[in-house]
């Protein structure tokens, strides 16, 4: 089976937040156009993260999801502000393959079980924001779940949480290492295999990709099933095709025809 390369788009008020410089003169910032661009470029899946703050945010995002679903024919997931089964239903009905829950699952773990029962485990992605801390009785692995963009500690051990959410019915884990996020210094190479080897569901590594070497390492030594990429592709440092060509040349199985 192939390792997946997954671009992540942060969307606020119908616009992606990270501007991009594309040679192809694409309307940068339009999530639908960007999704189509990455689809054509060979992305295996796309993640949308809704950071719209306004009160009509749900309707705005549903409209984006609906338009994306008409344009791309690969799986995509939507996260950010999913709090209820009804939120999940709307996003899935609009055409997303998966929904991702993060803070809501910490506050109310039952939402994972209820979502899995209603829509199937394959639809439910658990987003985990993790920070490295001193190992303690409460956090024996030395990795703690944080929420509110990393500002709030929860006393929940990342490894314990990963296993618990798998048991509740999560179908996949998107593992975001807060410390590595945005650094472009590489993925968290201790945390990723720790989680991936201790659960039986796929793990998407997120945070820290700066070059193709980082992606190579997290997909091999890091035992990740997929790598989330953001700045590295949005800023045009590499194209998805360049990433896949190099991974393929180095012996990583990736989808090479699209």
């Amino acid at each position: 089976m192939s390792k997946r390369i997954i671009p992540c788009l942060d969307v606020r008020d119908r616009k992606t937040t990270k501007g991009i410089k594309f040679k192809q003169n694409i309307d940068i910032g339009d999530p639908v156009e960007m999704a189509r661009f990455y689809y054509e470029e060979g992305a295996d899946e796309i993640v949308f993260y809704d950071i719209t703050a306004s009160s009509d945010r749900r309707d705005i995002m549903i409209d984006v999801v609906r338009r994306v679903a008409e344009e791309i024919f690969i799986p995509f997931s939507v996260g950010g502000g999913i709090r209820t089964i009804e939120d999940m239903r709307q996003v899935l009905l609009a055409g997303a393959e998966k929904v991702s829950v993060n803070t809501a699952a910490v506050h109310n773990p039952k939402i994972i079980a209820e979502g899995a029962r209603a829509f199937g485990s394959q639809c439910i992605v658990l987003g985990m924001d993790v920070k490295k801390v001193e190992a303690s009785r409460k956090v024996p692995s030395g990795y703690e779940i944080v929420i509110h963009g990393g500002r709030t500690y929860t006393d929940i051990d990342a490894l314990v949480w990963a296993k618990e959410t798998e048991n509740l019915g999560a179908g996949e884990i998107c593992l975001n290492a807060i410390d590595a996020d945005g650094t472009q210094q590489g993925y968290e190479m201790a945390l990723t295999p720790l989680i991936s080897e201790n659960v039986n569901i796929p793990v998407i590594a997120s945070g820290g990709a700066g070059d193709i070497d980082h992606i190579y390492h997290v997909l091999t030594r890091g035992k990740a099933d997929a790598a989330l990429v953001a700045s590295i592709v949005h800023y045009g440092t590499y194209t998805i095709k360049q990433i896949k060509d190099e991974l393929h040349a180095r012996g990583v199985k990736v989808r090479m025809r699209w």
Partner: protein, 212 residues
């Protein structure tokens, strides 16, 4: 008109959207008359075999499917649709449609790749297909094409003759089954990029003839 059978199993809109993109008129339906009057049938589904069979039976669509198969209408099964055409599923230990002899099996508990990596279950993600036979619906598909899979159970027909393609995931399992006017795939063509759309397009113009 193409009937996409609606028996409450999963998101059918993605199949509908893909056909719209390709320009083929279709309707998501659970009405017997509409299905009987359709030109061809797509039979998708995610979810559990037990519930799917119960819903089909409740709607009387199990009979409709068997009848339409015998009437030589082109039928495409997707995901769960490749499983419940067999006789029995280990999932919920349920009796299925029995259009094709064989069973649906759960993947073995410990699976390892050729590189000796532990494989996770469900099988979720992109994988290739080894084509054993030629089929009009697979025209233009190459060994380099990959498709999006999500499943923990796989179809195992009693006869190799039904197997059009196989996929490797710790074991080599049948991922495309063909029998007369029925073609069924374990992956999701509607989520498998251009290779998947090609299969859908091929199906939408297929006359239903298949000679092994």
């Amino acid at each position: 008109m193409i009937a996409i059978i609606d028996y409450k199993a999963g998101n059918l809109k993605s199949v509908e959207r893909a056909l719209k993109k390709l320009g083929f008129p279709c309707r998501v339906t659970q009405h017997r008359e509409e299905i009987l009057n359709s030109e061809r049938i797509i039979f998708p589904g995610v979810g559990a075999a037990g519930k799917a069979m119960a819903d089909l039976g409740h709607l009387g669509l199990d009979e409709v499917l068997r009848r339409e198969f015998k009437a030589h209408k082109p039928i495409l099964g997707i995901c769960l649709g490749v499983q419940i055409i067999l006789e029995r599923s280990e999932e919920n230990d349920v009796q299925c449609l029995g259009i094709i002899k064989g069973d649906v099996k759960l993947f073995p508990r410990s699976l390892f790749s050729e590189e000796n990596e532990r494989l996770k279950i469900p099988h979720m993600g992109w994988n290739g297909v080894h084509l054993h036979k030629k089929h009009s619906v697979l025209q233009g598909i190459t060994p380099a094409d990959e498709f999006y899979f999500v499943h923990a159970y796989y179809p195992l027909p009693a006869l190799d003759g039904y197997v059009v393609g196989t996929t490797s995931y710790g074991i080599e399992f049948p991922s495309i089954i063909g029998y007369e006017n029925l073609i069924a795939v374990q992956f999701h063509p509607e989520k498998s990029g251009k290779a998947g759309l090609r299969i859908l397009r091929n199906f939408c113009t297929w006359d239903g003839d298949y000679v092994e």
